[in-house]
């Protein structure tokens, strides 16, 4: 379910790194919690992001989820697909419904993020807490 070559954050973002370009999106767990996505508020190309800094939000009818950058970098591209069809986040969160691409300013930051196994363990714990 969670691609092995991605890295994950506690706020349920994923990042896929290719060279010095990172592609970022929200995880399947996040889209389930959110419900039907109706709108994505994306940053502008050129925006400078820092780890833990909010760069936009994903909205459902009754909730808004801020999205936090896992790493530092500059936004190079935003996903135009999500302007007209934000619901793609619900159906394909890890692939075609990526949110932004950015040029990493410090690729070493990625190493401190969770890998797929660690993330799956983390969300299993979260699920237990919620139903407790």
């Amino acid at each position: 379910m969670y691609p092995a070559d991605y890295r994950y954050t506690k706020d349920h973002e994923w990042i896929k790194v290719q060279g010095d370009i990172g592609t970022i999106g929200i995880t399947d767990y996040a889209q389930q919690e959110l419900g039907d996505v109706v709108f994505v508020d994306a940053p502008k190309v050129g925006a400078k992001l820092a780890p833990g800094k909010s760069f936009g939000s994903v909205e459902s009818v009754k909730a808004v989820s801020e999205i936090y950058s896992p790493v530092s970098g500059e936004v190079t591209e935003t996903n135009s697909l999500l302007v007209d069809t934000p619901e793609k986040i619900n159906t394909d969160p890890h692939n075609t419904a990526w949110l932004i691409k950015l040029k990493l300013s410090d690729p070493k930051e990625v190493a401190s993020l969770m890998d797929a196994a660690a993330y799956e363990a983390y969300i299993a714990e979260q699920a237990k807490e919620h139903s407790a």
């Binding site: 109706v38 709108f39 909205e59 459902s60 009818v61 009754k62 934000p86």
Partner: protein, 505 residues
């Protein structure tokens, strides 16, 4: 058997105190419009007519308003009357909405608000010919000060949220006069959404504080949070769980020790009026919601009024103008207020709403306590009779409202929203769902004093029945309502591709 009849009698649609009934269809008024129809005529012009293009210049004149309605008076009466029959209303039955205080809106209030000499007065007309209006404002102020135990009042704010902002601005001005406005306002996680929103507009930073295991302010740890940088704590009392903050005196003391102030959101005043006074238990400034506690009509979403009451130390900072009685006994609007926070809206306030609140207060007089007692009695009666069927997350004394949760029904996949929608089939408006945020699956119930024992019993029966349905036939509940003109509407589509106005084909 005639399938239609069976359908009408089905338990999905006809249950408890409700039965299905024919209601008229109706399109949009624009869809009935046709050139040449009119609903209102004007008396003939008694001065020479003017050509607007010549008088104003053609660049300032408009073409006819495209798509604007052209209908007759009868069509307008039918259109809106039909629309009205699709609504629920207090006049039809209970609204058990927590913290909304949906009580009876007395009709005499509507009558007096419309009197010639009251509805007709211009806010800028001279004080000499506005003594009646000014006295109404002054008399209401006196009543509200008496009820809240405070020293100074403003009737300007147009709603509770604006009252909150006004109170926060007064706090800021006061602290500034003391040398340091500070930066933060503490807000419990059980607070209504307007609280943090108002804090930001007042230029402060929100600091959320977690409620304790009793859903109350964590007084044991409050001192840690009240630093020298905290301007105030914004508190709702009773809380949004309907529970009185028992350690309120301590809370006020901790704040005052540090030079911070206590703001009270008065949304739940219906549990306190005539029984206790916020001014006595340490509140420095508060607002009231006249469209809640003071019976002014909700009207589908307003108008309201959110007067602010404050202690003497905050009096210099009241919004301008202030309604005063001069030594000669006449009333006036005092504009000479150098320390005022300024004006929060044009003119003196929502006078028509204020007038209705005064009429309500005059009807009760000192007997207002009885209304409060009946409100608390109704809530506790309902609570006692529903406890066997619904989860009660906080087992504390309830005042005028009680909060259950959907925890038991959730085991069958039925949540608070589903139960609420099924309540509609039983002829009741839903309770408040999903608030306060600290109770997952919240069911917040406030009957108010306007409900008879019979109506309370019918509500209890309905909720009991739904609990049984949630157990035996959960799908019936999950797909409710079954008896309304439209079923659950596609809110996702409405948000993805908003259609916010009618357009001609």
């Amino acid at each position: 058997m005639n399938p239609k009849l069976t359908d009408l009698d089905s338990p999905a649609k006809n249950v408890g105190k409700a039965r299905a009934h024919v209601s008229q269809n109706e399109g949009l008024i624009f869809e009935q419009s046709a050139p040449g129809k009119r609903g209102m005529e004007l008396p003939p012009l008694d001065v020479p007519a003017i050509d607007p293009a010549k008088a104003l210049g053609s660049q300032h004149t408009r073409d006819a308003i495209e798509g604007f309605p052209e209908v007759s008076e009868i069509e307008v009466i039918r259109h809106f009357t039909r629309l009205s029959t699709w609504n629920y209303a207090i006049d039809l039955g209970m609204y058990p909405l927590g913290s909304c205080t949906m009580k009876y809106n007395p009709r005499v209030n509507e009558f007096v608000a419309r009197l010639d000499g009251l509805a007709t007065e211009h806010p800028e007309q001279p004080a000499e010919v506005s003594q009646g209006c000014l006295r109404i404002l002054h008399d209401l102020q006196k009543c509200l000060l008496s009820i809240t135990g405070m020293d100074a009042a403003t009737l300007q704010p147009a709603a509770g949220a604006q009252g909150e902002l006004t109170g926060l601005l007064m706090i800021r001005a006061y602290l500034e006069s003391q040398g340091n406005p500070r930066h933060k306002v503490l807000i419990p996680d059980s607070a209504h959404g307007t609280n943090p929103a108002s804090v930001v507009i007042a230029g402060y930073e929100v600091q959320n504080i977690k409620s304790n295991s009793r859903g109350q302010i964590d007084t044991d740890h409050l001192r840690e949070f009240v630093t020298d940088d905290v301007a105030a704590l914004m508190l709702t009392n009773p809380s949004t769980l309907g529970v009185f903050e028992e350690r309120i005196a301590e809370i006020a003391a901790i704040l005052h020790e540090r030079g911070a102030l206590l703001y009270m959101d008065g949304a739940n005043m219906n549990a306190l009026a005539g029984v206790t006074r916020p001014g006595d238990f340490g509140v420095d400034v508060m607002h009231l919601n006249l469209h809640k506690t003071f019976s002014t009509p909700h009207g589908g979403g307003g108008p309201g009024a959110g007067p602010v009451l404050a202690k003497k130390i905050l009096e210099p900072f009241l919004p301008v103008p202030v309604v005063v009685q001069k030594p000669d006994g006449t009333y006036a609007l005092d504009h000479n207020r150098p320390k005022s926070v300024g004006r929060v809206r044009a003119f003196a306030g929502n006078f028509g709403v204020l007038l209705r609140a005064l009429a309500y207060t005059l009807a009760y007089g000192p007997g207002i306590r009885q209304a409060t007692e009946d409100a608390v009695l109704n809530a506790n009666y309902i609570r006692k009779n529903l406890e066997p069927y619904f989860d009660l997350p906080y087992n504390l004394p309830s005042m005028h409202e009680v909060v259950f949760s959907d925890a038991r029904q959730k085991t069958k996949g039925v949540n608070t929203m589903d139960i609420a929608k099924r309540l509609i089939d039983y002829g009741f408006h839903p309770y408040t769902t999903a608030f306060p945020l600290i109770v997952p699956g919240a069911m917040m119930i406030e009957p108010t004093e306007s409900e008879s024992k019979q109506e309370c019993d019918l509500f209890i029966d309905a909720m009991r029945s739904i609990a049984a349905e949630a157990d035996a036939t959960p799908d019936l509940v999950k797909t409710a309502p079954h008896s309304t003109r439209v079923g659950r509407l596609d809110e996702v589509a409405a948000a993805r591709k908003p259609v916010l106005r009618w357009k001609p084909a």
